[in-house]
Amino acid sequence: MFTDKIELKDFDKMDPEYKELLGHVLTIQADCEIGGPHLYVETMLPAAPTKLDQLIVARTAAEEIDHFRKIARVAGDIGVDVSFVLSQPNQQRFVDTFRGLITTWEDNAVFGFLIDRVGRYQLEEFYDCSYLPLQRILPDIVTEELGHIEYGYNKTLELVQSGDEEKAKAQKVVDYWYVRALDMFGHTGSKRSERYRYWGLKRRSNEQARQDYMNEVGPILTQMGLKIPDPNQGRRYL
């Protein structure tokens, strides 16, 4: 197991596998950061229920663009150009969850509540990671993601508390996004995930991170009065 801490100046001396994995994970992370706004800006900025909500959609997008910027800088400094993801069609995003379009306010709320939470998990994988320039940008990014999650949670809770019809709608939307959230952690027993851990770039296996997520989200859903969706129904990556 690799336990050293690497600075930019040390990067050239690293094993080719380390370089490849770091470049790959930064590209995916950059794609996910900008993939969010591409799902909801066009549809939700004009359609959010109040003007204040419209501005919060814009602020969320601004924060995600800034996260992209920070990741792109770390990637660019090691020679990896991730700018192509800025113009990538949604259908070509690395992660399936970002390949569609958010068209309802309910989806937008639950997306923040469940999918931005996966984003937080992905970022937390890099806590104490071996590449210090990546580790340094995390605290501010994670703080902003926590804000997105809280906003999504509050808006979802508002729906749940708005009557039976709205609650049923919220449940349906949670059912849709929950399995997508679980799929975002990737395949159980992934060999690539094992190499990330070997090189100190990630902390947990895909299945461990997914289980931690389920352990966190389950009680929250129950407390909100929602049912925990079947974690195996509709899954693509088990």
């Binding site: 706004p37 204040l52 602020r59 997008a61 800034d66 700018s83």
Partner: protein, 63 residues
Amino acid sequence: MPQTAPNTEKLDEHLLEVVRALHGAVKQGVSHKDERKIMETAIKDCKEILDVIMEGNVQEWLN
């Protein structure tokens, strides 16, 4: 030291300006939330900025 990817610094600077402009517009709107016209202008400004970013035409931004 590794060779930096082309346009890394320029893109970083450009996006930082974009993010600052967006936050400025949001702040202007949120701090006048009882003034409909100011809110609408702020939303319009955000939309204009975000439309350009969503288009993703990096070469155009940097030239």
